[in-house]
């Protein structure tokens, strides 16, 4: 560009077609919020052992790994690394518990334990929220207002089912499966634990579960609550470690069912390893959800929903609305509104009560996000990031909008699992459906329109397990959650979720 043009741009940064300055909002520091750190004690231990047979047990090989705070990169605790022998011991304990206590206990007795767990979790909610944020990097307001209360709600909900199981499948006899193996991801460490444990336990199963390598702490703190609640030994066994431990949990001969939440890539590996066995499976895998905004939508609320859909938990959400499909007549307005909204997002210390976006969960994930964002720039999409200051230490990424994205961009096809939104446009309803379904995934979708009939039409045509209308990322223990296509199978929550842990005769 010739220098004269550049100079002109500097003196009059934005001028309208008739030479009038384009009005702009100022989001400056006239009234800055002071730091408001949450100060509750997370009551962490320096070393966490495995939870097997109701006791904290040192790993047989004596190996431990560090778990860190992704916002500071500082070590929080030593966590036991479970080997094959530990996984064997965990499954033995689970089988014993199933055969001797839990599997034979009347549902109304099991319910008492689950209610107790839920109440104890509520009692210690603040402590758990702080621990969750320290270990995972999510903003304290999310762990405080969403993760912990929602986890408690799942225990409450399923406790309520435990003595009413005869009504889950009327006319059939219902029984627990036995021992189940579960592996959960790092994006909602405590909540995913509750999603997996509560229905399994309510139904009368016993569990061996492996939390994610980067976020084991709240699972092991919940083990303390199991002890406090007097849960019979072996009903829940928690083994910590990385991929190898997870593979040992999934491939073990004892469990009659395995449940996995995580990436599609790992889900495929697990399914391959279990092919030919008669184990039951549920898989809750990746997603690339489309949020579809029509020209008659309430735009400000749609923009808010889109922001909530992609920046909630730094975008580490399998059902995140990572693709935005906008009706062409309103595309420019929606983009302008999105930019103004993203400019007031607060990125930084997850422990600050005013933080909207916390830390990315791990260096590895940060690098993956960076790599995909680079590919978006390289492939010609237009990037927008607000000029917020990021902390010097820790893993942080600016909220990112990509406009001018097409179906064949990598950022429109691959799951980024970070705060990155890809914006595409469409012209007709059919085109919106076609584009939304043009993905290997099918976990969730969002529709924004004032027209009720269009919502009903799209809810049948979109191939996704959950479809939100004029809202996004709403969860309830009573509402089944799960995917289509490469987003997995099986449902969690509600009556359907219970059926996935039941034997019907």
């Amino acid at each position: 560009m010739p220098p004269t043009t550049q100079d002109k741009r500097k003196t009059a940064p934005r001028a309208g077609s008739r030479g009038r300055a384009v009005p702009e909002l100022i989001f400056g520091d006239l009234w800055e919020y002071d730091p408001a750190p949450e100060t509750a004690d997370p009551k962490l231990k320096a070393r966490y052992d495995l939870f097997i047979g109701g006791e904290f047990t040192a790993p047989k090989a004596g190996a431990y790994f560090d778990t860190i705070n992704p916002a500071t990169e500082q070590k929080l605790a030593d966590v036991a690394l479970a080997g094959q022998a530990d996984v064997d011991a965990a499954y033995r304990a689970a089988q014993r518990a199933f055969d001797t206590t839990w599997g034979r206990m009347p549902g109304r007795e099991r319910a008492k334990y689950l209610y107790r767990v839920a109440r104890l979790l509520q009692d210690r909610a603040r402590e758990f929220a702080v621990a969750e944020t320290l270990n995972g990097g999510k903003p304290i307001k999310e762990s405080r207002d969403f993760d912990v209360p929602m986890a408690a709600a799942h225990f409450f909900y399923h406790a309520g089912w435990a003595d009413k199981l005869d009504y889950v499948a009327p006319g059939r006899k219902i029984a627990p499966l036995g021992v189940v193996g579960q592996v959960i991801p790092w994006n909602f460490p405590l909540l995913m634990l509750a999603w997996k444990l509560a229905p399994a336990l309510a139904m009368g199963n016993c569990v061996v579960i492996k939390p994610a390598e980067t976020t084991p702490i709240t699972a092991l703190k919940l083990a303390e609550i199991f002890q406090q609640a007097g849960l019979p030994p072996g009903v829940v066994n928690i083994v910590t470690g990385a991929g190898e431990t997870g593979a040992a949990v999934m491939a073990h001969p004892t469990p009659v069912k395995v449940a996995f939440t995580g990436s599609t890539e790992v889900g495929k590996v697990i399914m391959r390893s279990l092919a030919g066995t008669d184990k039951k499976m549920t898989m809750e895998l990746g997603g690339k959800a489309a949020n579809i905004i029509f020209d008659d939508a309430p735009l400000d609320q749609a923009v808010e929903g889109v922001v909530n859909g992609i920046f909630f938990n730094q975008g580490h959400v399998c059902c995140a609305g990572s693709r935005l499909l906008v009706h062409e007549p309103v595309a420019d307005r929606v983009l302008a509104k999105l930019k103004n909204r993203v400019r007031v997002l607060r990125v930084g210390d997850p422990m600050d009560k005013n933080t909207d976006l916390g830390a990315i969960n791990s260096r590895q994930q940060l690098e993956k996000i960076g790599e995909l964002v680079d590919s978006g720039v390289k492939e010609g999409a237009e990037i927008f990031q607000p000029p917020c200051r990021l902390p010097a230490k820790g893993f942080f990424f600016r909220p990112t909008l990509f406009s001018g994205v097409t179906q064949s961009h990598r950022i429109a096809r691959e799951e980024i699992f970070g705060p990155v939104l890809s914006i595409l446009t469409f012209r007709t309803v059919d085109e919106a459906v076609e584009k939304a379904n043009n993905t290997a995934y099918g976990l969730s979708a969002g529709v924004w329109t004032d027209k009720g009939s269009r919502i009903l039409k799209l809810s049948t045509e979109l191939k996704a397990g959950v479809i939100w209308a004029n809202t996004f990322n709403k969860f309830d223990p009573a509402s089944p959650f799960g995917g289509y296509k490469e987003s997995g199978f099986g449902r969690e929550g509600g009556r359907q979720g219970l059926l996935d842990y039941a034997k019907l005769t």
Binding site: I26, F27, G28, D34, L299, Q301, E304, A336, N470
Partner: protein
């Protein structure tokens, strides 16, 4: 069947400016209430709120004496000299000349409700005469009510024409257009009425939620719908309209939530009493009480604050 003319007109208006989803608005504003405003930012926020208060007395029993004490409080809300005066005193038109006597030559403005406040149910000529009288007596600002009867029957042009007529009668005084959100009921209606008013207002004129005389007044939700309308109007036309929520804002904490909404929706340019006001009577002393608490670390009894409304 074709829609009734009034419905068609409303539909056309909404097609132009877009609709509002009630659940979404309320979710948005709930986030404002979870902001944690502490220490220096709290002091700054409270002082800003003090400077934005329109101290109001709108009662049948108002007397020149009552107005005098209100004005004194407005000029010097607290013994602490760092506390700024409020933005304005807001009184009935008959009281304007008494108020003017006390605040003339100061930063405190005299605002007068006019146009047969609060119902507006008199002939236009009568309403305009009241506006002219108030301006003649020295009112710097006029708070008018829109013709809700005309609005709800779909006669939007009449609503707009009447605002224009009042605007003309205002001369150089600023105009605040009260939508009376409690009688419009839906967020769609509030957004539409905001745009109707803004389409004829000058930069620096206000839209205002309510009279305080009905059961439902300013909420974070309806104020959010209005400031989003102001933002959209500003980005489309460059004309900056000001905002005044009124009625129902009684505590300092509420006021801070309203300011958070301004900061995160309209930005810094609206964090001034030229662009934002609180219409309230009991809010001021709670703001002062919280400022005192920040200064001394202890809450003071209400009787340490002058003109307190609470009983003790």
């Amino acid at each position: 069947m074709l829609a009734q003319p009034s419905q068609a007109a409303f539909r056309r208006l909404l097609d132009e400016i877009g609709t509002v989803d009630a659940v979404g608005v309320e979710e948005r504003v709930a986030k404002f209430t979870s902001r944690s405003i502490k220490k220096a930012s709290k002091v700054k926020g409270l002082a800003t709120a003090v400077s934005m208060v329109d101290m109001t007395t709108l009662e049948g029993k108002d007397t020149p004496g009552k107005i005098a004490s209100l004005c004194q409080k407005a000029l010097r809300p607290s013994e602490d000299p760092s506390v700024p005066p409020v933005a304005a005193v807001c009184v009935y038109s008959a009281m304007v000349r008494h108020a003017k006597r006390h605040v003339a030559g100061t930063a405190v403005k005299v605002a007068s409700v006019a146009t047969a406040f609060p119902s507006g149910q008199t002939g236009l000529r009568t309403r305009l005469a009241e506006v002219r009288a108030a301006v003649g007596d020295g009112a710097d600002e006029i708070d008018m009510v829109i013709n809700r009867g005309a609005y709800l029957s779909g006669d939007y042009n009449r609503v707009k024409d009447e605002i224009c007529a009042v605007l003309e009668a205002c001369g150089g005084s600023a105009l605040k257009v009260i939508l009376e959100v409690g009688e419009l009921e839906t967020y769609d209606s509030i957004r539409a009425a905001s745009f109707l008013a803004m389409s004829v207002l000058r930069p620096g004129d206000f839209i205002k939620t309510s009279t305080g005389k009905t059961t439902s007044n300013a909420t974070l939700g309806n104020t959010q719908v209005m400031i989003e309308a102001i933002r959209d109007h500003f980005l489309d036309t460059g004309i900056a309209i000001s905002m005044k929520p009124a009625g129902g804002i009684r505590t300092a904490k509420q006021a801070l939530h309203y300011l958070v909404a301004v900061k995160e929706t309209l930005g810094d340019a609206w964090l001034t009493n030229a662009r934002y006001r609180f219409g309230a009577s009991s809010l001021l002393n709670d703001l002062l009480r919280q400022l005192e608490k920040e200064r001394t670390g202890a809450y003071q009894a209400p009787y340490y604050f002058s003109e307190t409304a609470e009983s003790y």
